[in-house]
């Protein structure tokens, strides 16, 4: 799918990267914890998140994330938008919640950048 189709599918607003809407993406990762994004997201994927601070952009840059989809209609700060512009990382904002955003993308053919993590399920304490 290209970003323009994703924008339409999610009824999203493009805050950064209007001229990159022909970019093709096949995979995505969604989380609000940047340490998990760092550990699991793959380069070239979409990042779905509800966080809006500049660290989201730094994290995306470190991983070569294709584009960021901010969910739940959150508005990033001007600092965040500026940094994304400087680093050339598109930001789309959708009012759909994370679950609905992921469901719509999956139905349209986007897949997780990994399906399951390795190892056994474990808890703390």
């Amino acid at each position: 799918m290209i970003l323009l189709e994703i924008k339409d599918l999610l009824d999203a607003e493009v805050l950064v990267g209007e001229n990159q809407m022909d970019m093709e993406v096949k995979t995505a990762f969604g989380a609000d914890l940047m340490s998990d994004v760092l550990a699991f997201a793959q380069s070239g994927s979409l990042l779905l998140t509800g966080l809006t601070n500049p660290q989201v952009i730094r994290t995306a840059d470190v991983l070569d994330i294709a584009a960021i989809i901010i969910v739940r209609g959150k508005r990033p700060s001007p600092d965040t938008v500026q940094l994304a512009g400087d680093l050339g990382i598109p930001i789309l904002v959708t009012r759909f919640i994370l679950f609905e955003t992921a469901g719509r993308l999956y139905q349209a053919g986007i897949r997780g950048c990994l399906v399951k993590v390795d190892g056994s399920v474990h808890g703390h304490g």
Binding site: D36, A39, Q55, V62, D64, H124
Partner: protein, 145 residues
């Protein structure tokens, strides 16, 4: 390692408490490694460990330095900070253990994954710390030249 000639060497200062710039050094290191044509998986691992280390310095130290040393088949990231230090390293390495403030959590960190991520993405990982003085980390990432 000691005999291996370095291709590139540099060091970067990190200011404690400067949350706005956290990640800047990691982005810079990533760009440098890409410029040298280092394999992308090694660039990703290095940028990741540099980024988590930088977040730790910003979060828990007054100031710190990140050293970058690039050889033919490996990169060494070494960080030295002056800050809170870690009293119980074994506990701090456990996934989920954290002493993070709300400010750190708001940034999407502080869930007790940082040091574990750094260890998991490094081929060699060393940590030493003195409570009240600071923490030093050494990470080596290797690739086939």
């Amino acid at each position: 390692m000691a005999d291996e000639p370095l291709i590139y060497e540099n060091q970067f200062n990190v200011q404690g408490g400067n949350f706005n710039d956290a990640g800047k050094v990691a982005s810079h290191i990533k760009a440098i490694l890409k410029g040298f044509g280092i394999p992308s998986e090694a660039v990703r691992k290095t940028a990741l460990v540099a980024y988590e280390s930088e977040i730790n310095i910003v979060s828990y130290a007054r100031k710190g330095v990140i050293h970058l040393r690039l050889a033919r088949d490996q990169v060494v990231i070494e960080t030295i900070d002056e800050g809170l230090g870690i009293a119980d390293i074994e506990l701090a390495m456990q996934e989920g253990y954290s002493t993070a403030t709300d400010k750190i959590r708001e940034m999407g960190f502080g869930a007790g994954m940082g040091l574990a991520n750094i260890r998991n993405f490094s081929d060699i990982f060393q940590i030493s710390s003195e409570p009240g003085k600071g923490t030093s980390l050494k990470m080596i990432i290797k690739w086939r030249p």
